[in-house]
Amino acid sequence: MAMTATATTARWSALRRSWPAMPMSLRIGAVILLIHFIIAATGPFWIPYGPSQIGTGPPLSGMSWAHPFGIDQLGRDVFSRVIYGAHIVIFLSLSGTFIGLVIGAIVGLFSGYVGGWTDDILQRFLEALISIPFLVLALIAIVAAGPAYSGNPILLVLVIALIYAPRIARMARAAALDIVMRDFVTVAKLRGESAWSVVRRELLPNATSVLLVEFALRAGYAPVLVGSLGFLGFGVRPPTPEWGLIMSENRSLITFAPITVLGPGLMLASLVVGLNLFTEGLSRILGRTVRLVDK
């Protein structure tokens, strides 16, 4: 335990030391993300009103110190709703992307390693999935799941995974094709390792940098996807304070009290910008280390 604590401390101090040398985009992105995560983690405990509490003030009253994002048609405080919704949006985006990453990485690495007909068939299938615009694919999946599951957050997570998995799989396969050419994979093959074992022991550790960047990139767009689906009414069920849904609910007020739409929009935008900046910086760092390792 003491060892772990020291290791963690060491890692923190190493991080502190290297912080100024990191890319600017990574630093800005990290700060934005940190703010979002703090809001998501603590928001529910300090918001002035409940997320679904009605009668918090005169409806449609616009921006004020008491109600920074105004009050919607039902008299709910939009600011409280947006802050409360942060953890929902972040959870949906990240878990959906993560599941997509796991599935995509396994399929992609496996396909790249096995090659031959299996690879051909898998790739055509994945290309077919990718060729469908993702929003259309999401709607098809949600409709296909049936009304019983509509608004179910788990369905939403799976839909995000479904959209991302094929795209991540293609990246993973490209990485695998490169790694498979190296002799240590041949050594494993000669040893008689199963395909799964080779993927897990030899390919995955060497594809981590590619996959990490891929994860961050996809995660950066996931909130938009969640929001879009919410806006279209295929996301979580009202009155869940998901940002896309809030914007959808208040879209009729956009000329009257624009802040009720712009507020959640700004939050969504800043999260996406933060994620993208972070990804950009991360891929630069990883790109460098990858080059260092490979010579």
Binding site: F184, K189, L190, R191, G192, E202, D294
Partner: protein, 696 residues
Amino acid sequence: MSVRPLVEVINLDFAYRQGEGWARVLHGVNFVIYRGEAFGLVGESGCGKSTVAYQLLAYRRDNSRIEAGRIIFREEDLKDLDRPALDRLRGNRISLVPQNPTTALSPGMRVGRQLIEVLQFHDSFKGREARRVEDLFQLVGLRSSTSIGDRYPHQLSGGQQQRVCIAMALACEPDLIVLDEPTTGLDVTTQEQIVELLKSLRARLGMSMLYVTHDLGVLAQIADRVGVMYAGRMVETATTGELFARPRHPYTRGLIASIPQIEKTNRSAGIALRGFLKRDQLPAGCPFQPRCDFAEPECASEVQVLETVDEGHAVACRRWRDITAVQMRSASTKADAAREIRPDHILSVEGIRLGYGSHRKWLRFSPPADVVQDLSFAIEEGETFALVGESGSGKSTVARAVSGLLAPKGGIIRFEGQVLPPLVADRSRELRRSIQYIFQNPDASLNPRARIGTILSRPVEMFFNPGRNAIVERIAEALDDVRLDASYAARFPDQLSGGERQRVAIARALVANSKLLLCDEILSGLDVSVQANVLFLLQRLRREHNLSMLFISHDLAVVRNLADRVGVLFRGRLMEVGDVEEIFKPPFHPYTYELLMAVPSIRRASRPRLQSRADKAATGKAGCAFAGRCQWQLGAICDQQSPPWREVSPRHGILCHIPLSELTTRVRDDLAHLSAQASPGNQKADPFNVGEQTHS
């Protein structure tokens, strides 16, 4: 005896000072050397053989003394001679060839000058010294005498240095040359050349020799008579033929059994030496008693004296009669074993055809040609078979086929007599374990994201699946085997140097307890110094683990130092196969010769560029693969008919239309032509001493 011997050693007792007292190292040693005779002294280190040799040079120091006995040289007792008399004798009438030529030659003096110094000291060949030096170089096979004489010792290979030492010993036409392990520091092939040289010198000059060595195999080639020493006693003397045919002393039998042989399996059938000489635990009687298979309680107390058992054959063993009976039988079975063709090949490749590109054939305009055609060879257990050839000759493809990465299009591969499934996926775990592949580039063959410990533990886990602790132990053992510290297990490959990484790759093959290693150019990615290290490591591991190897390399020097047999591959066909000593001697296949001449160390400035023909395509499928590129091509026959397999010896064959005798002459002519052209100083005496330097 009518003729008086040149040297008589009579009941010599000799001791070194040890603390307060004297420790006797020679006990009543007796032998004689006649004029023109080569007498060999053999025994394990510490048996006193070098002490005897140096006493023939009357080498005295304060810490040693002759306690009894006489050493008579030309009817004078060396003991009675004073310093000036000895100075006249040493280097003049009796001379020494030392064990290590590197330290024997003065590093700061040109070797020609060193020879002249010897002559001047003894007032020998007065006024003709320079001429004599030239003759001497000629005599010892250092051909371009002028340039050799101008060199410093470090500019010569170990073999050449030893030749200089021999020339120095011969300078004053001595009566006796004392050779103290003259070939021990040299690699096998150089050793053979030196032994050949000594043999021919003795035939031509007729001097006597005392040849001291631990290697009975060398004496078999050069000595007329042999004395076997053990713990300061002469235990057996006999003519060489007699000694090998009918060794009487158990110790001699053990020594003979220890001689490495090509037919390796019978090397030590039951009579090899066991244990080692423990000087402080010698019994009062026969010193060999503790290690002797024939020992009886009486042996320990009864002092054994040399007893003549036959004409010119004496042995110091009271049980020699019993031993003789056993010996006769085992000698004959051994002869039988050598004759029979043994099927115990660990790997045999029979007429395989290899090629790439069966997959997606429709994408190509024409089907690709086979990389390897009708290739056959076999590797015996414990043997290292080297495949050499230029890049693209199909060497690695063969290794891939053996490993199961590439299924042959035809032919079969057997492992330990069983047909190997063509693809690794169909092979049993046992087979996968037994055949291990080591790749050229350790950067690529080690997972950069795995710790060394993980890399090494996986094969252990897969093939043996012992407990966690056993795995850790096995890894430490394997790392120790390749001379890496156990702490390396925690490191990542990029924290290691190139040589260390290759050691890890070797360790990975070792942890599987493999029987056959496929080494694919495993040294070529490394620095020369690191290369030598890993080469040495391989030599050791091969012995310790009784590994067989298919060693693929383009580096003839490495091959010469490591391989037992060599196959020369050109465009997927074996051009020449033979034991390593034979491959590096004429006759050569024209392609082998081309490869040898391409080795940088022996390339001459005036060498016509053979590479100019290298781009020429081989002419046709019907003829010789090498036709069109061959500098000695006979004509149309080479293009149109496949060449015959000509056997130089049962273990050496060449695939060529040119008869063997002509191949030999062509090489000789070519070399003569070249040396005529070459400017002096640009040439080495021994054109095929590839790899000699690596060892010296």
